[in-house]
Amino acid sequence: MNVLIRLTRHRSARVGLVCLALIFGMAAFAPWLAPEGYDDQDLMIRLQPPSSEHPLGTDQLGRQLTSRIIWGARISLQIAFLATGIGLVIGSALGLTAGFYGGKLDRFIMGLMDVLLAFPGILLALAVVAVLGPGLYNVMIAVGISGIPRFARLVRGSTLSVREKEYIEAQHALGARDLGILIKHILPNIIGPIIVLATLRVGTSIMQAAGVSFLGLGAQPPLPDWGGMVSQGRHLLRSEWWVGIFPGVAILICVFGFNLLGDGVRDALDPRVRIAKKGQGPKEEAATPS
């Protein structure tokens, strides 16, 4: 509870929450907020500039960009949470196993993670999409896989620091099963950094998925994927700039919101920040590697 209070008092977290409230609101109330469906075409109003009638303009098929961006929030959040979830669940399971058992299993798992980390994030996602083929769900899997080694590394490190504690030894002495110790005693004690990474990864996932979609390998038309929408607008940039620029603003607001929230969550969970003197900021980390 204290953490939640600290989070709501954190200035940047509050700004992040406002950005995210906007995006989540768009996703949740899309049927009521969006003037039209995401694929409602009217060729009579093709490529209309922003005006009171068409707030963000229309695209080459006469679809309202406002509606498509609002509906697109659902797709972006879906990709972001599922992709982050894949990385979180698989990466944490691998990290817990490696850290808890150590030895050859640890070396094998972490060796595999090092191999995955040798690919820059977007490239790994592209390699997976090359195997699975383009599409919304394949992008989620691809982006999710690129997140696995980051969670595994973090969780393994945290597990190593916790597994030698007396209360874990006590559980061993009481004859508790390994799985029980991992889930009931180790995981709750390392959950803080996992939550921080997960919050920051949501932003990264949105960015990576948008990048893959921009390259034409993500969600396929007519789905209103923001990255794909920017891609469709790039050839119209000279004369109809709004088609490609506005969906990018939506991506920016969403990722910015998650990054600010991630910073806030990290500060709220870090006891060192609470006791730090004013002016002696917390350790900054790269919120979203490009």
């Binding site: 820059p120 090359a130 390259l215 990255g227 910015f256 900021g281």
Partner: protein
């Protein structure tokens, strides 16, 4: 130092082998028959069988891997399914363009990012600090392809100052330099933002150390304290980041090159994926991942030279 360097090099070898296995498996995990793709949709079964035989796809998988890796170390990745030219030839033609773009991007982003980070770090919680860190966070949060299009809209289409896309004849010509500006800014903005955040935090940490208090109590000027004593130590973690970011930039170039029609390796990767040109995709991904591993190795070694404590950990 020699022992440390050898240990690091030996550690990198299994990673490189792992990378090569994953890249090799790319073709085998993909649904569909590469021979059928190469033969085309109207090919006879006999032709497909002949191609399978020629590519060695009927051999056991470990034999195929051995053939792949032994050719790869000789920089022979076969012929492109799409252009029928040797893959290495295409890559050698394009790779210098990607490298040039990444080097210019990393150079400006380090100078700019470290500068902003120092500026913010020496005046924490000031308006300048908040503004520069806010801008850095926006820089990290904006997708690179969108930043590229925004730059293109403003500087190429609205103001007409810079050419919209393509690469000049030579980097050292006025046209070449002009064409480099927008792709390098697009590619490097995220890195500059990460550098700025890291440098600021590192500066804050160092400025609070006892030896800085000692330097101040000796009566040294603030300029001397910041630049001679604090910055040099604050830059140690930033060095690691430079290496990591160079790898990120090589990956990020895939997108930037598409935005600006930059004829680099990234464009080859995307064209390769779209055309299911597996030899090309394999070679490009292997190249970028290998550079990433080697750069990280070099960073580790440089880091241990700058901070000898690392070697003893």
């Amino acid at each position: 130092m020699f022992e440390y360097a050898m240990r690091k090099i030996v550690n990198a070898i299994p990673i490189l082998i792992g990378v090569s296995i994953l890249v090799f498996l790319l073709v085998h995990l993909t649904p569909g028959d590469p021979a059928r793709i190469l033969a085309g949709p109207e090919a006879y079964e006999e032709d497909i069988a002949a191609i399978r035989e020629r590519l060695g796809l009927n051999d056991p998988i470990h034999v195929q891997y051995w053939r792949f890796i032994s050719s790869a170390v000789r920089l022979d990745f076969g012929r492109s399914f799409r252009t029928q030219r040797p893959v290495t030839q295409d890559i050698l033609m394009r790779f210098p363009n990607t490298l040039q773009l990444a080097m210019v991007a990393i150079t400006w982003s380090v100078i700019f990012g470290v500068g902003i980070g120092v500026y913010a770090g020496v005046r924490p919680n000031s308006i300048g600090d908040s503004l520069s860190m806010g801008a850095a966070l926006v820089g990290v949060s904006a997708p690179s392809f969108w930043k590229g299009l925004l730059l293109m809209l403003i500087f190429a289409y609205l103001l007409g100052w810079l050419p919209a896309s393509g690469m000049g004849e030579s980097f050292f010509s006025a046209d070449g330099l002009k064409r480099m500006i927008m792709p390098a800014i697009t590619l490097g903005t995220g890195t500059a933002a990460v550098m700025a955040r890291m440098t600021r935090s590192s500066m804050l940490e160092v400025l609070n150390q006892d030896y800085i208090r000692t330097a101040r109590s000796k009566g040294l000027s603030e300029r001397n304290v910041v630049y001679r004593h604090a910055l040099r130590n604050a830059l140690i973690p930033v060095v690691t980041l430079i290496g990591l970011q160079l790898g990120v930039l090589m990956g990020g170039a895939v997108i930037t090159e598409q935005v600006f029609a930059w004829p680099g390796v990234g464009t080859l990767v995307i064209n390769g994926i779209n055309a299911r040109d597996y030899p090309m995709v394999q070679a490009c991904i292997l190249l970028i991942a290998t550079i990433f591993v080697v750069v990280n190795l070099l960073v580790d070694l440089t880091y241990s030279l700058i901070d000898p404590r690392i070697r003893y950990n």
